[in-house]
């Protein structure tokens, strides 16, 4: 089932919220207001929105440290996410998780993970729980193509395949595993071929096209809900910014990045919306709404209290 054209303006706004979230983080990072690592998902907003909008709030999601977009698209509060980035008590993890560990079980977000394939078995395990409970929930596991060379990737795909679990493995192939081109690290750079080797449906989709992404994930989700088992989707995309703040990006040319900017997902969707008859003013209004959401979240986060140092000792055990 395709994404209804009626929802494309909302998708555009959501993608802009993600983009502006990352831009705000970069600015705050440069001001020294954010500690630790930050791995931006700029250029990968369509995979997040197309993928996460194809499931329900009560479906499960795991992602990686480059998963701010997926977390927000799944429904994580922008305020709570921003406050977490700033290490505030109002953050989604009360300042204990930070950029790489956004979690909100109320929207199905079981956790972003700092180990590239570490979250895959968690998604499969949540899918196993759904299967055992005979619910029709499904789980999405987002990861980058850098994760396909970790052992637990293979272990999880095998287990999910033999047990026909309702889990969709979504590989965002952004072409760089940290600071190294993926063709230099990966024997089968078309990662969907690895997925297919487990005897499950596996295909590649244009990850910069939010409609294509939605449609592909939605088909896999429907199959999973109907008992058809797992699927593997490789979403072809491009990481417009570096691996993390301070990445000198010596592994690619400025020309390559400039070419990628012409086909990045927000530019693509703006063209599509204009084709559908939306005006420049319409698009400007959506962008302004996104900017307001981010400004509000930033204000909220900056105004929020820092955690009580004594709180460092809580939340270890239930």
């Amino acid at each position: 089932m395709p994404l209804s054209p009626d929802r494309l303006p909302d998708a555009y706004r959501q993608m802009l919220v993600i983009r502006k979230f990352e831009e705000a983080i970069r600015s705050l990072y440069q001001q020294g207001k954010i500690r630790g690592s930050f791995h931006p998902c700029v250029g990968q907003e369509a995979t997040a929105v197309g993928g996460c909008w194809a499931v329900r709030t009560d479906d499960y999601l795991t992602c990686t440290y480059r998963g701010h977009g997926q977390a927000l698209a799944k429904g994580l509060s922008v305020r709570a996410a921003m406050a977490e980035m700033l290490g505030k008590a109002t953050g989604c993890s009360k300042g204990k998780g930070g950029s790489m560990h956004f979690t909100d079980p109320s929207v199905g977000l079981l956790g972003a993970n700092a180990i590239v394939a570490g979250g895959l078995p968690h998604a499969a395990g949540a899918a196993l729980a759904a299967q055992l409970e005979k619910s029709d929930r499904v789980a999405l596991a987002f990861f980058g193509e850098g994760a396909v060379n970790q052992g637990v990737f293979f272990e999880t795909l095998n287990l999910a395949a033999i047990w026909k679990l309702p889990v969709i493995f979504i590989c965002e192939n952004n072409r760089y595993s940290e600071m190294t081109p993926s063709h230099a690290t990966t024997a089968t750079v078309e990662t969907y071929k690895r997925g297919g080797s487990f005897g499950i449906p596996a295909s590649i989709v244009d990850g910069n096209d939010v409609e294509a992404m939605y449609q592909a994930v939605e088909a896999a989700v429907s199959r999973a809900r109907d008992g058809g088992g797992p699927s593997y989707l490789e979403a072809a995309t491009y990481r417009l910014w570096g691996h993390m703040m301070g990445d000198p990006e010596i592994y690619r040319t400025k020309e390559e990045v400039a070419r990628a900017r012409e086909v990045e997902p927000i530019v693509r969707l703006s063209r599509r919306l204009k084709q559908l008859g939306h005006s420049e003013d319409d698009l400007a209004r959506l962008e302004s709404e996104a900017a307001t959401i981010i400004a509000d979240a930033q204000q909220f986060a900056e105004d929020s209290p820092v955690p009580d140092p004594a709180d460092a000792l809580t939340d270890v055990f239930a």
Binding site: K96, D104, V152, E155
Partner: protein, 324 residues
């Protein structure tokens, strides 16, 4: 009371908890129709079916990780590792994931997962099938580590572990499965975090757990023949450590020996002794001692393995030296 083996007691705990709570299910290698290599899960697949007693591939990271995911989604999985040594294959999932997810999420999720495995030497299984890791696990915030020595404690602690609502590493010992003991009839739980005095004595406190507890009790009988009455404390829980019971005991005995099968170097014995000197600096009349595996991999030949792992005679000698 009913006489059960350690393996039968664990089996009863799993059966009762699976009957009481449909969220409890099992995953592991050869645990279904084979019943587990030490027969701990024997017959459970006939009662609960293959959906809840799941044979896994040899993919420790995969199925431990899936246990975590199922736990995050509200289930109560119990995963079995064939040998504790294989925990290292799943170390990321145990240490980086299970132990930390709740904290990193600011307490918004929990991981009610039990990881069972047998460890230790004594059967000539060699360096990759004989290790003891409880001292390592005790170093990881977010893990509860249990190591019962008797069938009664094995049953009661496993039931507590399944209900703990947190990640638990449940340490069994390959030489304990066929040991027998009285197990209370009916429902009971053994509390997590509580040591137990298994033998009362006035002259020296021997702290141990798991397989070496039996050696400590044996040593205590030999020492009694020489007029030394040893108090033997079974820790049962490795983390959180019950220092209260240890400190109470040494207040009267004034001598302390800690015995375990994991390597002595940087091991639990060192931690217990350090805490004793911090918390009761003047309680001991003789230097505290620890016995653990010597700092080499665990060898196969019986003579070599015995030389590396603490034996009853070593315990007797260590205690007697405190009275020289």
């Amino acid at each position: 009371m009913t006489m059960l083996t350690y393996a039968q007691a664990l089996n009863a705990a799993l059966r009762e908890e699976m009957q009481a709570d449909t969220r409890v299910f099992l995953m592991g290698e050869d645990i279904g129709h084979h019943g587990g290599i030490f027969r701990v899960t024997q017959g459970l697949i006939d009662i609960f079916g293959a959906a809840r007693v799941r044979d896994t591939p040899i993919s420790e990271a995969g199925f431990v990780g899936m246990g975590i995911g199922a736990a995050l989604a509200g289930m109560r999985p119990v995963v079995e590792l064939l040998f504790m040594d294989f925990a290292l294959v799943a170390a990321d999932q145990i240490v980086n994931q299970a132990a930390k997810l709740r904290y990193m999420a600011g307490g918004t999720v929990s991981v009610p997962l039990v990881i069972r495995a047998q460890q230790g030497g004594g059967r000539g299984n060699g360096a990759q099938h004989s290790q003891s890791f409880e001292s390592w696990f005790a170093q990881v915030p977010g893990l509860i580590t249990l190591a019962p020595a008797t069938p009664a404690d094995a049953k009661g602690l496993l039931k507590s572990a399944i209900r703990a609502g947190n990640p638990v590493v449940f340490v069994e010992h390959k030489l304990l499965y066929n040991t027998k003991g009285e197990v209370p009839d009916g429902e009971y739980l053994t509390p997590i975090g509580k040591a137990e005095v298994k033998r009362i004595g006035r002259d020296v406190t021997i702290v141990s757990y798991s397989r070496t507890l039996l050696s400590a009790l044996e040593a205590a009988e030999l020492l009694a023949q020489n007029g030394i009455e040893a108090e033997v404390i079974d820790l049962r829980t490795i983390e959180p450590l019950d220092m209260v019971t240890i400190l109470e005991s040494i207040k009267s005995t004034a001598r302390l020996l800690v015995v375990h099968e994991s390597h002595a170097n940087c091991g639990l014995g060192a931690e217990i002794i350090a805490r004793v000197y911090e918390q009761l600096p003047n309680a001991l009349v003789a230097p505290a001692r620890r016995l653990g595996a010597k700092h080499v991999p665990i060898p196969v030949a019986e003579a070599l393995e015995h030389s590396v792992l603490p034996q009853t005679a070593d315990i007797v000698a260590a205690v007697e030296a405190m009275f020289d």
